[in-house]
Subunit: 453 residues, 2 copies
C-alpha cells in the first residue's frame, strides 16, 4: 500500500492530467463553492478604489496585489518597473447650454475625456456644430472653425455583440478632438459610448495630434446628447460653456505586478494570464478591469488550493496603464523579448466580469485549432463561443513572439452601461458570473499547461 | 411596375417566408432599436406593481394587459375566466431568536411562505431542530414533536444551471411544513432558496397536507439561516418566536388574458406564447414573470410593426395564478380541449428577463428535431442551447393535446438573487437582455408559424 502511494506521488501531473474532464469539474467546484475572486474584488474596489496610472490608487493597487499574491505563496512574485503617463482630471468638469430659448441655462452631465488638456477656471464658450462621425466632420471643413464640435454618433443597438457597436462609434471619442482641432474647432463634446439613454457620462481615452492645438474634449451623457441635439434642431445659434481642468503631468514610475507558478516539465514555456490593474478615475474599476485582475490571480490560487503543479509555467500579470497609454503591456512584451522568454499563450480578461460565453483568439491555424478542439470539454460550462477573432489590448504587444493571444469572452449586453463611469462599482458585479469567468480561465489555462498549444 | 407590385401584394407570406435569415434579422433589428418590451415592463412594475392572484393588483394587471393588447390592434383580445385561490399575507411576518446566550433577542429577516396559515398576533414559541432535507426530517421522527423544524438545505453552488440547484433544494420549501406537521412539529423555518448569502428573505409556494394541522411556514434569509445554524451548534435549547398573519380566503374570479393574430393559411393551428401575469406580493414581479408577459405581447406587436401576417395563429397568453395554484394554466388547457383547439406549440418565458441562451423543450422526437434543425438560424443571436429538456409550468397542462412545449432559456446565474423577493423590481432587469429574449421568442414563433413543427 505504501509503495502504491509512493508511485502515485512520483507522477502527480500524470495522475491529474489523465482526465481533463474531471479536472475541469474540480476547478469549477472549487471556484463556485470556495472561490476568493469576489471577496478580492470587493477589497480592490472598496479599499483601494479607482486607480488611474500614476495616481496614489494605482500605487496602492500595485502594493496590494503584490501582497495578495505573496500571501498565496506563489513561486515568484515581483514588480516590473514601467514609466507611465500621469494625467489628472484636476477638478469638476462642466458643460452648460447658456442661451437656450426654451430653457435658458441647462447644465449637462459631463466628464472630460482622459488625457484632455483642461480649459481652466475661465472655461470657454462657443457655438455648437453637431456631427455624427469623423467623416461628417471632415466634410464640413472650415465651417467648424471657432466652433465646438458635438459628436453625436450613437452605438448601433442592432448589433448583438455590443463591442462591435462600440468599435463602430469610438473613433469620435478617441480621435474626435484631434480631427476637429485640425479644422480649427475650439472644443469638442462627445456622446457617451453607451447603449442606454441615461444621465451617466462615460469617460475614456483620446489622443491629440501633436501638430495641432490641444482643445478640450468632454463626454456628455446619452440623455443630454439627445437633448442637445433636439435643441440644436430648433436653435442654430445655441452656445455651450465648457470647463475642465485636466492636465498631463510628468511621467511616473509604476509597475506591472507579476506572480508565477513554475512548470514542472517545461518551465520555460510560459502561459500569461491577466488583466489591467489601472482603471479610470471614476467609479471603482470593478468590471474594467478589477474583475480581470482578480480572476487572473484566482487561476494561480486555484492551483494552490487544488494542490496542483502545472507542467508549464503559469504567470499572472496585472498590466499597468491600459486605459491611457498601454505602457505596461508594451514593457512586458519588450522585457520578455529581451530575456528570451517563450510565451506559448497569453490570456486576458478585459471585457467585464459578466457571464463567460467562450474565448476569442488570434494565432496560427494550428493554435486556434487546438483551442477549438477542446470545445466538448468547455461546453458543459456554457463556453460555446470559441471561434471568434480577438485577444486583448495588453497582450497585443506579445504578438510577434508567437503565443496564441486569447480573450475571455463574457456576454457583452451590460458592459457599456458601466464602462468608464461612476457606475462601474463592486455592486455591479454578480458573484457567480465573476466566478464562472475565473473558472473558465483556469480551465483553459489547465488544458494549455497540460497539452501545450 | 404597378402590375409587379400587385403581384407581390398577393403573396406577402411567400415574400417574407422565403428568407428566414433575413426575417430573423428584421425581428431583432426592430426589437433592439424600437422595442416596447422594456417600457411596457416599466408600466407593469411601477404602476400596476405586484399582483398575487385574487389581489387588486392582479385585477389591475388583467385590465391593463387587455387594454395594451387592444391598443396594438391584435385580431382578438379577450379574457378567459378562471377561479383562483386568494391568499393574503395579512401583516408583517416576524421571526426572533428569544434566548440566545450570546446575543439575547435576535430578529431575523423573514417572510411567510405563500398559502401559509398565520399564527396571528399571539405568535408561537418553540425550540428549534435543524435539518438539511426532508429525508433527514423523517429520520428524526417523533423527536421534532412540539418543535419548530428549521430546514437549512443550501442550493448547491457547484451546479452551473442554478435551476438544477433550485430543484434540488425546493422540496423543503414546498413540502417541508406538510411533512413536519405529520410528525407533530408546531412550525417551520426554511432557508431562502438563493445562491447568495444576504439578508433578503425569499417567499414561494408551499402545500399543506389536508390531513394534518396547517402549521406556520416562514422563510428566513440565507445570512440569518447561517447565523441560526451557528447559534444552534452552541446552544441546543435555542428558542424562536414566529409570528405571521397569512390566511387563505375564499376563491376569487380572475382571468387569463389572451390576444391573438389569426393565421392566414392554417388559422386552426395555434402557437401559444406567454408568461404568467400573477406574481408574489413582494417586489414588483419584474423577472417573475412580468418579463415573460411583456415579451409574449411583444412577439405579436412585432408582427404588427413589421406588417407581417402569420400563416398560423399566434396567441399571446397571460396565465393567472402560476405562483400559488396554476389554475390559469389548467383552465386554459381544459378550455382548449373542450373547444377542440389544436395547439401545435406552446412557448413560455418564465425564467427571468435575462440573457437568452436558447430554448428547452418537451415533445416528440420529430418536434424536437425540427426545433434543433433551426440551430444555424438561431446561433447568430447567441441561442446555442436547444437540446435541453424543459417547458413551462403554465403550458404543462397542454401536454396531452400534443403541442411541443418550449421554454425560453435565459442564463440562470442571477435569477435566484431576485426570485420571490422584494428585490425583483424593474431596475433589476437589463433592457437589452429583456429585448433579446423577446426577439428570440418572436424568431422562434416566426419559424414555427412558417414551417409548422
Amino acid at each position: 500500500m505504501k509503495k502504491f502511494l509512493l508511485a502515485l506521488a512520483f507522477v502527480p501531473s500524470l495522475a491529474f492530467g489523465q482526465n481533463h474532464e474531471s479536472n475541469l469539474r474540480k476547478i469549477y467546484d472549487a471556484e463556485l463553492s470556495s472561490g476568493h475572486t469576489y471577496e478580492n474584488l470587493r477589497y480592490l474596489c472598496k479599499v483601494v478604489g479607482n486607480r488611474l496610472a500614476g495616481s496614489p490608487g494605482a500605487a496602492a493597487a500595485v502594493e496590494w496585489t503584490k501582497q495578495l499574491m505573496e500571501s498565496y505563496d506563489f513561486d515568484t512574485v515581483y514588480l516590473q518597473p514601467v514609466m507611465v503617463p500621469h494625467w489628472e482630471r484636476g477638478g469638476k468638469d462642466m458643460v452648460k447650454i447658456v442661451n437656450s430659448e426654451k430653457h435658458g441655462t441647462v447644465e449637462l452631465n459631463a466628464l472630460a475625456l482622459g488625457n484632455t488638456q483642461g480649459t481652466g477656471a475661465k472655461g470657454l464658450v462657443g457655438e455648437v456644430v453637431e456631427v455624427k462621425s469623423i467623416p461628417e466632420l471632415q466634410s464640413l471643413g472650415e465651417k467648424v472653425k471657432g466652433k465646438i464640435v458635438f459628436f453625436n454618433g450613437p452605438m448601433d443597438p442592432k448589433l448583438i455583440d455590443t463591442f462591435q457597436a462600440y468599435g463602430g462609434a469610438n473613433a469620435q471619442r478617441s480621435s474626435g478632438a484631434a480631427e476637429a482641432s485640425k479644422l480649427g474647432a475650439i472644443g469638442t463634446l462627445v456622446r457617451s459610448l453607451s447603449n442606454t439613454i441615461n444621465d451617466i457620462p462615460h469617460t475614456g481615452n483620446q489622443r491629440y495630434n501633436p501638430d495641432f492645438p490641444k482643445i478640450p474634449a468632454l463626454a456628455i451623457s446619452t440623455a443630454d446628447a439627445e437633448l442637445l441635439s433636439q435643441l440644436l434642431a430648433d436653435q442654430k445659434d445655441l452656445k455651450v460653456y465648457l470647463e475642465s481642468h485636466g492636465e498631463m503631468k510628468t511621467e511616473k514610475l509604476s509597475y506591472n505586478v507579476i506572480g508565477e507558478i513554475r512548470g514542472t516539465e517545461k518551465p520555460e514555456e510560459i502561459i500569461a494570464v491577466g488583466g489591467h490593474l489601472d482603471s479610470w478615475d471614476v467609479g471603482e474599476g470593478a468590471h474594467d478591469d478589477g474583475a480581470g485582475c482578480m480572476q487572473a490571480i484566482e487561476v494561480l490560487r486555484l492551483y494552490k488550493q487544488l494542490g496542483w503543479k502545472p507542467k508549464r509555467t503559469i504567470r499572472a500579470v496585472m498590466w499597468m496603464n491600459e486605459e491611457n497609454g498601454l505602457r505596461g503591456g508594451q514593457e512586458y512584451a519588450r522585457v520578455a523579448k529581451e530575456k528570451g522568454e517563450k510565451h506559448i499563450a497569453a490570456l486576458e480578461s478585459d471585457s467585464g466580469g459578466f457571464l463567460p460565453i467562450g474565448f476569442s483568439s488570434s494565432g496560427t491555424e494550428a493554435q486556434r485549432g487546438k483551442l477549438t478542439s477542446w470545445a466538448d470539454l468547455l461546453r458543459p460550462y456554457q463556453l460555446w463561443s470559441l471561434d471568434r477573432p480577438g485577444g486583448g489590448a495588453d497582450i497585443g504587444p506579445l504578438r510577434d513572439q508567437g503565443p496564441i493571444l486569447i480573450g475571455l469572452k463574457p456576454d457583452s449586453q451590460r458592459y457599456f452601461y458601466y464602462h468608464h463611469t461612476e457606475a462601474d462599482v463592486f455592486e455591479a458585479v454578480d458573484q457567480r458570473e465573476l466566478e464562472l469567468g475565473a473558472a473558465a480561465m483556469a480551465a483553459l489555462v489547465h488544458l494549455i499547461e497540460q497539452e501545450g498549444i
